[in-house]
């Protein structure tokens, strides 16, 4: 720096400080904090043990609209378009989340997106174009920081959704080399097949998308970046991503059964697949996402499309993020990923040493919440899936990670933004009770529960985007049955250590799904060496009451004969019989004030461990 520049900078610094000070004096009365918060934030861990967390997944655009100034080009009620939600809205409704018992908030991707594509908006945030700039629809950096700060002040952590597999539709394949994106038909239909070609999103070609005309192919199709600044559809940032060589350029995945396509193909919708095996790409991803943590003090990443990225990327990305953060005093940073697949082994592979702390437990969603709680299948599905836990998931905490074994911190969910809501598949009268029994399981089993926003309001949207309803449609009511049920369950989960830190042992599961005495029953124990104990009994079917006995067999618990267990939901008492046997009846209605009717869900704890008021 020259001497002149140095002088200029000094004077400028003084002037800036004076200006900022003057500003703080005047607007301080309505400021949310003082100017001391400007600049880099001081990082610190905000979660001691992630097993204690209860995650709430929200779509920023759909949760709450707190800032009309960010309502650019919103299309109310057209759910494929922006609705107006923003970070200020989340700040404004932290009370709501606190009432629900949430301890961790998972927000949508924050970076700038290609705003609009083929009639759809990037309200979800998965169409990144500039990894160093925020999506103005959601607010600005100050508001994002304010949100994180406010959440931390309430003891909540914040999880940021990120995507490393692809960017938005930032370029097209100029297959016919005419310099414009075409969507056309090729072939005569008689001697040559009639083929629809879209240069936006052509089908997978292992050689890379080829250019061709009626005379035949002519080599790799040129990649041309869009230049539509009015919708941020421009060459991406950082500048490295303007180099075609950092993309696989093979077109869209047409078969998810072909691993090569999954790894190298564009994500459907024309989302351009990055060559994540390229060290330059890895370096940039580590850099930009480290910077976002340093800039905001968020507490975790939910990472999109794991299985579309090579394993080597995760073995590089995750440790480097941890190392970077450790250098800044940020530990216990939680990274879990999404592999949208029912293959438990595949999902679990991402928790192997050197990779992620956890995964979004998709196999569990399919095996347990869909098959058992929605479709009232055999509860032995639960024990069968759990039996694979130690095989498929790592039992070694990640080095420099959150200190917990991945197998113990899987992120459980019953639905999310990519699948129909639970109630969509249970439109019958028994749906709400099925949902509440599933919620009871979600909030008492091992792992980290994750509640998709709107579940507490009995939202019942189908597939995307119907399952992405604005939460303000509900009026943020907190007196609904499901809201109150979740609130009670979260209080109980936080109040009983066995439910968060205890082992998980299924003590009753059944293949019975019809009229049998134990049809639909699942019971499991959560135990800690300290003696903390909970026994959860749930009737997953709502047709008749069931009990933990069948065919002359009765459930056997780990508790000594004569132990008194109290159902903390109903207050009923049970005495453990000889050999730890215990028969518990569970009904068909989750929330029912009629003492003559057995409740559908019971949480039993030793009498000495009952915590009043939960």
């Amino acid at each position: 720096m020259t001497k002149t520049n140095t002088t200029t900078s000094r004077v400028a610094s003084v002037a800036s400080v004076l200006g900022a000070a003057a500003l703080s004096i005047t607007v301080g009365s309505c400021a949310q904090d003082d100017l001391g918060t400007l600049g880099r934030v001081t990082l610190s861990p905000h979660v001691d043990d992630w097993r204690d967390e209860i995650i709430y997944q929200l779509l920023t655009d759909r949760f709450a609209n707190g800032d009309a100034a960010t309502d650019y080009r919103v299309a109310p009620s057209a759910l494929a378009r922006y609705q107006g939600g923003d970070w200020q809205g989340i700040i404004d409704h932290l009370d709501y989340l606190e009432d629900l018992g949430i301890t961790s908030i998972w927000i949508s991707p924050i970076v700038l997106n290609v705003d609009h594509d083929a009639g759809f908006d990037a309200y979800h945030g998965y169409w990144a174009v500039d990894l160093e700039r925020l999506n103005p629809h959601f607010g600005d950096l100050a508001t994002l920081r304010a949100f994180v700060r406010e959440a931390h002040a309430r003891g909540m952590s914040v999880i940021l959704d990120i995507v490393t597999n692809h960017l938005g539709q930032v370029f097209y394949y100029d297959i016919n080399n005419n310099g414009q994106p075409d969507d056309s038909l090729i072939g005569g239909g008689v001697r040559s097949p009639l083929t629809r070609i879209t240069e936006y999103d052509p089908d997978y070609d292992p050689r890379g998308i080829q250019a061709f005309t009626s005379l035949g192919e002519s080599g790799p199709a040129p990649v041309r970046f869009f230049d539509m600044p009015e919708i941020f559809r421009v060459p991406p940032n950082p500048p490295l991503f303007q180099d075609p060589s950092v993309y696989h350029r093979r077109g869209r995945v047409t078969s998810y059964d072909v691993r090569e396509q999954v790894l190298f193909g564009d994500f459907p919708g024309g989302l351009k697949d990055l060559a994540t095996e390229d060290p330059r790409v890895r370096d940039e991803m580590v850099r930009v996402y480290t910077d976002w943590i340093l800039t905001t003090d968020i507490d975790g990443f939910r990472i999109d499309t794991l299985k579309h990225v090579d394993d080597g990327f995760w073995l590089d990305f995750a440790p480097r993020i941890r190392q970077n953060l450790a250098a800044h005093g940020k530990t216990n940073f939680f990274m879990f990923g999404e592999a949208f697949d029912g293959d438990d082994e595949l999902i679990g592979s991402y928790t192997q040493p050197g990779m992620l702390d956890s995964v979004f437990y998709f196999s569990h969603k399919f095996w347990v919440f869909s098959d058992v709680f929605q479709n009232e299948g055999p509860t032995t599905q639960i024990s069968r899936l759990y039996a694979q836990r130690d095989t498929n998931y790592s039992s070694i905490p990640q080095e420099g990670g959150i200190g917990a074994r991945p197998r113990d911190v899987l992120v459980n969910f019953m639905d999310n933004h990519d699948v129909p809501r639970f109630l969509y598949d249970r439109p019958d009268a028994g749906g709400p009770d099925a949902l509440r029994s599933a919620l009871a399981y979600l909030l008492t089993e091992d792992g980290i529960p994750c509640i998709y926003y709107g579940t507490e309001q009995d939202y019942a949207g189908g597939n995307d985007p119907a399952n992405r309803e604005p939460l303000w449609w509900s009026g943020y009511a907190t007196d609904g049955v499901t809201f109150q049920w979740i609130a009670r369950l979260t209080r109980i989960r936080r109040g009983y250590a066995a439910l968060t830190h205890g082992s998980f042992d299924v003590v009753w599961a059944t293949d019975h799904v019809a009229d049998e005495s134990d049809a639909g029953v699942v019971a499991f124990e959560r135990r800690i060496d300290t003696g903390d104990y909970a026994l959860v009994v749930i009737n997953t079917q709502g047709r008749h009451a069931s009990r933990t006995s069948a065919d002359g067999n009765t459930m056997t618990t780990s508790q000594a004969a004569g132990t008194t267990l109290v159902d903390i939901l109903s207050g009923e008492r049970f005495t453990v019989g000889a050999g730890g046997s215990l028969e518990v009846e569970v009904g068909t209605v989750v929330v029912d004030d009629d003492p003559a009717t057995p409740p559908r869900v019971r949480i039993l704890v030793p009498e000495s461990q009952v915590v009043a008021g939960l």
């Binding site: 002037a15 949310q32 600049g39 800032d67 160093e132």
Partner: protein
Amino acid sequence: MVRAVSHLASLRLLALLLPLAAASHARAQDAPLETAEGDDASGGSSDTRLPEARLDERAASAEPESQSESSAASSTPSATDQAVRQFLDGFHFGSYGRIIAASDLRGASGHQSRIVSFAPRVDEEDTYAELELRREDRVLGVDTRIVATVAYAGPLFHYDGEFAERIAIRNLFAEANNILTPGLSIWGGSRMVRGDDLYLMNFWPLDNLNMVGGGLRYALEDDLELAVQVGMSEPNNPFQRQTDLVPARTGFLPDEIFVLDRPRTVLSGRLTYWPLGRMERDGLKGVLYGEQHWLGAGQRTRTDGTTETLPEDSGFVLGGQVGGYLSDSHTFANLFFRYARGLGAYDPLGVPFRTGTVITTGRAEQIRLALAANWEWNESPDVAIGVQLGAWWQLFHDADPAVWNRGALSEGAISIRPHIWFGQQAGVALDLSYQGMQSLALDELTGNGEGGSLFKLAIMPFISPWGRGTYTRPHIRLLYVVSGRDAGARRLLNPADPRASRDVEHFLGVSVEWWFSSSSYAP
């Protein structure tokens, strides 16, 4: 008393005609001068006049008394009186204009370096001109003016080859002076209403309204004047106006209806007091100023067809000005203060931004301080010097409940421009300025607050054919400006802008600026 009338009217005649007729330097030096320009964000215009100009105004406003007295004297007009009548009964032309051609010495055109709302204007790059036609009469003892001012904004045809310029009507009003009672003026129409400015910033820190409406001005004795105006504005934006096409009641073509139609009404008042008398060549001036803004409730249609209600809105401005002037040395200083709240913090022709979920401007606030000054030394036939000073600073935060954004900022600028004349018609001026801005928005790359600083140094050799005086025009200038911006100022630019990576900017050009005989700025 006829002589008195003649004398006072002659002063006004001098005020209007002298710049046109000025053949001698001395006369030009003494001429009342007015600057007239207006291309700032609010469409503002200027009223930077030497104290003499104000004296001439005072002379003009004092005419009614004299006239009243003259009625008791001879009804036979003297030769001088005849000349006055000839002047009053006729068409007149006035103008303000500036044209600049500049390079950045890198092969591109020169651009103004600015990071604040009202930047030092030394390197302003835009072409702007006002062409005023005016009809003045005296009928039944009442002086009337009908004024039409066409404003013209570049780029010029000779620059871009496009046979189209941007044109706006800035003034279109009729005014009657000394009507009903001596000292009372009434106007109606479309008009720029404004007071004193900071010439160096092209900025009116206290009052700057563009109104369609009318007003009264009443001069009491020699030391007090009250002016009241009321006007409306309805920019074509969804905050105030929305139209829709509906099936025709009859026929085929759709009818256009107003969905949202809520003009902003502004009532403003200005009380001016000259403690030493308005007629004194050396004097003091104090101004109290206020505005009240109203906006009715309304409804507008969202894109999905649903209706959104916009509540009533209002706001106000309170401010003041104190100043002093020494006419013989062309010296003056004006200190301004302005506080605005709610709707008053937003220009009537702008769209209130970041109004928050309540869709009102209620929380918006603005505090502003400004200083304008001039001093000249003109005792030598060989050399003269003059110094202009302009400075302002303001705090603004918008109506959004979220404070930490670009709608909350502290900004200001200071510019000092010394001149030296060699002889009567040539000189050189230096201009040294600083701009600073600090907002409460955070930069996404650094995490720091957005803001920066910018310095400029300019040297301007000029020719002033109508003589000395910092406010004498026209000026034909050679202009070189070097600007230095810090890292914060660079980050305020779009990263794709080549200037975002440069510390220093150059601006070398030729400019011309003139003004004469414009009535746009007389209160």
